[in-house]
Structure formats: C-alpha cells, structure tokens
C-alpha cells in the first residue's frame, strides 16, 4: 500500500480533485466538508452563480449521503439498516466546470424506485423540471429526510444537465449507487 500513496496522490492531482472523502458521516463532518467546498470555491471560481450552484449541489448531495444510508446489515438476522451514514464524495474541477460525485449503498428493494425517479427527472426539459419541483413542493408531504423528494430534482435543476448514475451489485441485499452531477456554465 505504501507505494500506492503517491499514485493515489498523483491521480487526485491529475484529475483536479479539490475534495475527496470516504467514510462515516456526521453532522459536524458535513458542515466541515461544506466549509471546505466554500473556501475552495471562493479561491477557484470568480463567477458567483457558479460558486453558488456548486455549493448547492454539494450541499444536497451530502444531505443525500447523510440521510440515505439504508444499507442492510447482513450480520443482522432481521436485516435492519445500519444507522451510520457512510459514503464517498469527490469534487473535481475541469475546464468546463465542476463535477460532484457521490457514492453510497442502497438496499436492493429501493433501487427500482430511485432509478425511476432519476430517469423521470432526466427525461424532463428545464421548464418541466421546474413544474415537477413546484408540484412536489406543493404536495405537502414530508419524507424521512424532510425534503419530500425534492433533493434530486433540485440537484438536476442546478446542474442543468442529465444526471449520470449507476448501480453496482454489492452483496445479496445491497447495491452501490454512484451519482455524477456536472455543473457547467
């Protein structure tokens, strides 16, 4: 592993990764990461609108990681979900803008719903997406995380592009969900 450290550093450097984190998330850590995003963006990005969009997307993505940690523990006979938020987040800078990448575990039984939600959002033009946001906001329902399903819609609106995502089977109960959100001018 020792000889891999430089390779890892080099890859992060080459890919212009301005932030990367993998592990358990706490409220304090989410705050610290957002503070870091904000400081870096204030140095890197002269355009206020871009700065805010990247911060917004990072904030919603971290919120998703924090709240959606439904990995089922196989060790637990009842298959209950772990309650420690866990995941990976990376923010990359590139010539056209920024990419916010996240990864977390999702229980297999929830994959279908999440995929449908993402596909539905990806099929919408910006004005439709805005209508869907308003309709979801107005329906008055709350979800566990409090956002009532607005998070990904908001991320898509701020990105202005199709959301790239994938699911990789992890074990018999869970999949690993990856999301790449591009924020460009």
């Amino acid at each position: 592993m020792l000889d891999r450290i430089y390779d890892l550093y080099d890859e992060l450097e080459q890919r212009r990764v301005m932030l990367s984190f993998k592990g358990d998330l706490s409220e304090e850590l989410v705050s610290a990461l957002l503070g870091l995003v904000e400081r870096k963006m204030s140095i890197l990005e002269p355009d206020a609108r871009m700065r805010k969009r990247v911060f917004n997307v990072a904030m919603e993505c971290l919120q998703n990681l924090y709240h959606h940690n439904t990995r089922l523990e196989l060790a637990d006979a009842e298959g209950s979900a772990t309650n420690i938020p866990h995941g990976v987040v990376m923010i990359m800078h590139h010539d056209k803008g920024y990419s916010v990448l996240t990864g977390n575990f999702v229980a297999d039984k929830d994959v279908h719903l999440l995929k449908d939600h993402l596909d539905r959002i990806n099929a919408m033009a910006p004005e439709e997406l805005r209508g869907f946001y308003q309709q979801t906001l107005a329906n008055g329902r709350y979800t566990n995380s409090g956002g009532g399903g607005l998070g990904i819609i908001d991320i898509a609106r701020k990105s202005g592009q199709k959301l790239e995502y994938g699911f990789v089977p992890f074990d018999t109960e869970n999949a690993f969900f990856s999301l790449n959100v591009n924020v460009t001018n």
Binding site: A48, G146, L150, G151
Partner: protein
C-alpha cells in the same frame, strides 16, 4: 406575545419574528440536516401569531442558501400566513435575492406560484463580499 429571536449560525438563519410590529425576518442560511426540528418553534410561533395577527404582516426572506429539507418548512410558514391573509389581513412576502443570483429569484417565484400571498422580489447587492 413575545418576539422570537434566534441568532444565525453557519447552518441556520437569523430569525426575528416580532408580533408587535408584524415584521418577520428570516436571514442568512438555512441548511441544517434536520430542518423539521429546526423549524418547529418557528412554525409554532407563526401559528400562535395567526390567532391575533397585526392588520399588516411583512415577512422578509433574505437567504443566501437553503436546502430542500428547509424548503418544505418555509412553505409551511407561508401556509400559516396564507391563513392570516384569508382572514382579511394584509400579508406580503419581501423576497430578497442577490444580484446575479437567478436561482434564488426562481426559488422565490416557485413559492409565488403555489402560495396565495403577494411577493415582492427585491434585488440586493452581493452580501458575502466576493
């Protein structure tokens, strides 16, 4: 009825709800992980205020960032004020947004589209000093 005053933090807004003047202020950032818990006292306050409101109420919203879990809670505040307005009182939302922050202007318009309260969109200079 006592005013509700909460200091702002990096994740929660500065709150100043004054029943004596009918001026309600929400300023700064609203990005807590658990918005429902944070907004509970605000909604309770407005609920009580709605029973004996001033003839004119102005809600000033000046947010730099708010997360989607706060957006539902903010909608609940608006809904309480919608009741005040339906009862025959004047209610206005002054929605402040920084110049060039079209997203925040749009966010105000999104509320305007679903809430029956007049909104005044007010452009302000960038406050964070960049």
């Amino acid at each position: 009825m006592e005013a509700l005053i909460l200091e702002g933090t990096p994740k929660t807004p500065h709150v100043h709800f004054d029943a004596a003047t009918g001026r309600l202020e929400l300023k700064g950032r609203s990005i807590p992980e658990n918005s429902i818990d944070y907004y509970k006292p605000l909604i309770t306050w407005v609920d009580r205020y709605a029973r004996e409101p001033r003839p004119s109420t102005v809600l000033h919203i000046q947010l730099e960032y708010f997360n989607t879990s706060s957006s539902k809670c903010i909608l609940d505040l608006f809904k309480k004020l919608e009741i005040v307005r339906t009862a025959g009182n004047e209610v206005v939302v002054n929605w402040h947004y920084e110049e060039d922050d079209e997203d925040m202007l749009e966010a105000g318009e999104d509320y305007q589209a679903i809430i029956n309260i007049p909104f005044k969109m007010i452009q302000i200079e960038e406050v964070d000093g960049h």
